[in-house]
C-alpha cells in the first residue's frame, strides 16, 4: 500500500463581512471529488494541533480548512493573537458564523469539491460548530467535540458577543449532529450533555451522541495529558464514519 499524498497550505479567505483572513487548508492530491470540512479551533487559538487535525482529514479523503478566527486581532504569532482575543472576552458569535460561512465558500470553489460540507469543532469550537449548525442552513453535517456552554445555566454568561445559548437555537438545526463527550468533563458536564440530547430528541433532530468513560475534556488532543488514546481512536472512527455517511456526494 501507499499513503495518500496531500497538500497543506496557508491560504487567504473572505470571512464575515468580507474581511480577508488566513486559513490552514489541506486536501488530497489525487484525482477525484472530496467532501469539505471546516475545522474550528479552540479558545486558546489557531494552534499546531489544529493544523494536525486539518492534515488528518486530508489524509482520510476530505478537503479541510481551519479559518483563523482571530485574524482580525493580528498580526502576530497565533498564541499572542489568542491572548489578545482572550483579554477582550472572545470573538462574537455572529463573526464566527460569518467566518465559517466564508471558509465554506472557499471549499465550494475548489474544483475537486463534491458538493457537501461539514464542520467539526473542539472545545469552544465545539460550541461554535453547534452554533453554525443552527445558523448556516447549507451545512450537511456537524460534529461537536465537547463543546462547553452549548447549555448555559448561568444566564449572566450571556453577553453582546454570545447573546444566545446555542441550545436555544436547536430548532433551526438542519444538519445531522455528532456529539463526542468525555464523561469526566465538567464543561459540558454529563447533565448538560443529557439535556442537549433531550432537546435534540424532543425536536426530532438527527443526531448521534457518544460518551466515553475514563475521558474528560479534550481527550483527542495528543499534546495534552487529557489525551486518552483508546477513547480517542474510537472517537475518530466515529467522526470519520459519520462524515463519510453524511458528506457522500
Amino acid at each position: 500500500m501507499t499513503y495518500p499524498s496531500l497538500i497543506a497550505e496557508t491560504v487567504s479567505f473572505r470571512g464575515h463581512k468580507g474581511d480577508q483572513g488566513e486559513a490552514y487548508s489541506a486536501r488530497p492530491t489525487r484525482a477525484g471529488k472530496f467532501p469539505g470540512v471546516v475545522v474550528i479551533h479552540h479558545m486558546p487559538g489557531w494552534d499546531e494541533w489544529i493544523t494536525e487535525v486539518v492534515r488528518k482529514f486530508a489524509h482520510h479523503g476530505f478537503a479541510a480548512i481551519s479559518p483563523h478566527l482571530y485574524f482580525r486581532d493580528g498580526p502576530g504569532n497565533p498564541d499572542d493573537v489568542g491572548a489578545r482575543v482572550r483579554a477582550a472576552g472572545g470573538v462574537p458569535d455572529e463573526q464566527v458564523v460569518g467566518d465559517v460561512a466564508g471558509a465554506m465558500a472557499l471549499l465550494r470553489a475548489q474544483p475537486s469539491h463534491n458538493g457537501k460540507i461539514g464542520t467539526i469543532g473542539f472545545c469552544s469550537g465545539g460550541r461554535h460548530a453547534y452554533l453554525c449548525g443552527c445558523r448556516i442552513p447549507d451545512l450537511d453535517a456537524v460534529v461537536d467535540c465537547w463543546g462547553g456552554n452549548v447549555v448555559v445555566d448561568d444566564k449572566s454568561q450571556l453577553n453582546a458577543k454570545r447573546p444566545v445559548a446555542p441550545i436555544d437555537l436547536t430548532e433551526q438545526l438542519r444538519a445531522p449532529l455528532l456529539g463526542i463527550f468525555g464523561n469526566d468533563d465538567q464543561n459540558p458536564n454529563a447533565d448538560q450533555v443529557n439535556r442537549t440530547e433531550a432537546t435534540l430528541k424532543r425536536l426530532g433532530k438527527t443526531y448521534e451522541f457518544h460518551r466515553y468513560d475514563g475521558a474528560g475534556h479534550a481527550f483527542f488532543n495528543t499534546s495534552r495529558p487529557a489525551h486518552r488514546p483508546e477513547q480517542a481512536a474510537d472517537g475518530w472512527e466515529k467522526v470519520f464514519a459519520f462524515l463519510r455517511k453524511h458528506l457522500a456526494a
Binding site: 479552540h42 479558545m43 486558546p44 487559538g45 494552534d47 502576530g76 498564541d79 499572542d80 489568542g82 491572548a83 489578545r84 482572550r86 483579554a87 472576552g89 472572545g90 472545545c123 469552544s124 462547553g148 468533563d185 465538567q186 464543561n187 474528560g216 475534556h217 479534550a218 499534546s223 495534552r224 495529558p225 487529557a226
Partner: protein, 90 residues
Amino acid sequence: MCSYIVEKARLSGSAKGASGWMRIDTANVYFDHPYHAPFDHALGIDFVCEADGARERVAVEISAQSARELVKSILAALASGEQAHAQAAE
C-alpha cells in the same frame, strides 16, 4: 473547558519581552488550556500595556500548584525585602 474568564490586575512596572523592555499596566490572569505548557489547564499571566494598545505581551503558563507557590514566594519576598529596607533606613 475553554473559559473566557480573565482577571485583570492593574499594576505599574516594566517587563522584558521579545523586543526588549516595555512598560506594563495590566496583568491578564486566567486558568485555562495553555498554549505551550504540557498541562490540561494552566495559570496564565499575560503582562501587557493596555495604554500602549496591548499588542505585545510577556507571558507565562504555569501549573496550578506552581502558581500557588509563586504567590507565597511573592508575598514572602515582599515581606522580607520591605523589612530589610525599613531596617536599612533606620
